[in-house]
Amino acid sequence: MNPAPPRRWWLDPLLWTGLLFLALTFGMSRLQPLFHTLFPEQERPMYLQATFPSLVLAHVLIVGLSSLIAVVVGGGAGLLVTRDSGRDFRSLLETVVAIGQTFPPVAVLAVAVPLIGFGTTPAVIALALYGLLPVVQSTIAGLESVPQPVLQAARGLGLSRWQILWQVELPLALPVLLAGIRTSVIINIGTAAIASTVGTQTLGSPIIVGLSGFNTAYIIEGALLVGLLAVVTDLAFERLMIHSQQWRLATMPRNRPITSASPASAQSR
């Protein structure tokens, strides 16, 4: 099966926003004259305490790590409460995770610092907690969307529990699951910027420094990259979700001759 979009690649928004993001990441310092013109009152309108590529890398690592934890923990918990043995814990889990979501991330960070100290660890913990809810909810919703007759057929044909989970339930739940992970990751990309208040290097660092030092140029530099990172990630998830349900997009081969299409696909199998 071929991936969908060989449309016209030069119209692909993911390509252009991705290129723009990379160009700004590696070329921000070359825009120094521009920022000088825009903010003539600033002596140093270019954030230089860390390079932008290193800030982007740190930001991506923190978001990636915390999202990974959220997916493993949230997905695992969602999976457990949809099994027969864990069904009783479902409402408890949903309540706990929903309460976690109601704390503002800054508050979670503020509580985490005296307990764990400054640095990357409290930031990752806060972000992971914050990203749990969408993952848990989408795991449950995705697994429950698998039609009962399909599960019954799978059991009746002799698939084991693991085979049903890997071959039937997860592939069918994947689009919904990915939607939850997408929400979680996008929230965390924004929230990770705030994490630099507890001493972590992220794309939020120029924003925070800019806010406290009245340096609008810093704020714009950081915010541009955070925003673009979120947009690029969102577009990438959209692509992934389309890819995860290719089979849904197959249409009735009504008007085109069946035989001309089949030899090629038969060979690719």
Binding site: V150, R155, G156, G158, L172, Q245, A250, M252, P253, S265
Partner: protein, 310 residues
């Protein structure tokens, strides 16, 4: 092949199956029939352990079914349910290959088996193998479901109301298909239905259940001629017993010598019920009987239709 010995199943206080003893023979087409809640579907699901039985013994191939590994037992039995049971994210070919793949057949053997089954069920392999279930009509989906159940050449085929969701035309086409498959393969088939006409058409043997008990166990003719109780008669439909009896035999069983009538003929493989209908429609006492090539081979007379009870 499959044997029930004093089997009981309860769901809470509800007794679904009550002291059931039953022996299903090799190669036999058994239809379990009854109203909703009669225990027919539970009985079927106990055979492949989708529903565990509470007491008694169920034997498959001479061995208590709880002695098998659950998956092994099910892979030796074909299982078909209503069309929505196909895996929507797999192609037709992958769906049919489910059990052969579980049994780790070599790829080439799976491919040729899939092709063979698609042909057996009247689906063109080139056109259908790579479609997804949602690209098929209801009848085509059900054909794939039957092909999937037959894929690994199971020792018995279990079918749970397989044609329930189909329109009447598609349903009768598939009924004819499954009757043909039974004849060709000689496999034991156990089918659950609430449709008495489907049961009379397909079954070698009908087991009628009511409130978890067998109320009658016999051939279609016995069910019609010697109903064990009033409830059987009611289920069959008291006013239609005669017509249903006519439906069990084919025209060639009552054929006389050819006549020279101008009336339109009837096929020798049509049922006597269809013959009566044709006689009434053409205001005739007798009609010519035709073979598959349209040649007149005999005649059918209305008087011969009256002795079906004998």
């Amino acid at each position: 092949m499959i044997e029930f010995e004093r089997v009981c199943k309860r769901f809470g206080d509800f007794v679904a199956v009550d002291d059931l003893s039953l022996r299903l023979a090799d190669g036999e087409f058994t239809v379990l029939i009854g109203q909703s809640g009669s225990g027919k579907s539970t009985t079927l699901k106990m055979i492949n352990r989708l529903v565990p039985h509470d007491s008694g013994r169920i034997l498959f191939a001479g061995k208590e079914i709880n002695g098998f590994r659950e998956e092994d037992l099910r892979r030796r039995m074909g299982y078909a349910i209503q069309s929505i049971g196909l895996f929507p994210h797999w192609t037709v070919a992958r769906n049919i290959a489910t059990v052969p793949a579980l049994l780790k057949w070599p790829k080439a053997r799976i491919t040729s088996r899939v092709e063979e089954l698609l042909q057996l069920l009247g689906l063109d392999p080139a056109g259908f193998a790579h479609r997804y279930p949602h690209q098929l009509s209801g009848g085509q989906q059900q054909r794939v479901g039957v092909a999937r159940a037959l894929a690994a050449d199971p020792e018995v085929l279990l079918m749970d109301e397989p044609f329930g969701a189909l329109d009447p035309v598609t349903r009768s086409a598939l009924q004819a298909e499954i009757a043909r498959i039974h004849q060709v393969s000689g496999k034991a088939i156990v089918l659950v239905t609430h449709d008495i006409d489907e049961a009379l058409l397909l079954a070698d043997r009908i087991v009628m259940l009511d409130q978890g008990r067998v109320v009658q166990d016999g051939t279609p003719r016995q069910i019609l001629l010697e109903p064990a109780s009033d409830s059987v008669t009611r289920f069959v439909g008291r006013s239609e017993v005669g017509l249903k009896l006519l439906g069990l035999d084919q025209v060639h069983s009552r054929m006389r010598a050819p006549i020279s009538a101008s009336a339109e003929g009837i096929s020798r493989s049509a049922t006597l019920r269809e013959a009566l209908s044709a006689l009434i429609a053409s205001h005739a006492e007798q009609l010519p009987v035709l073979d598959e090539h349209g040649q007149t081979v005999g005649s059918i007379h209305v008087a011969d239709l009256l002795d079906v009870t004998r």
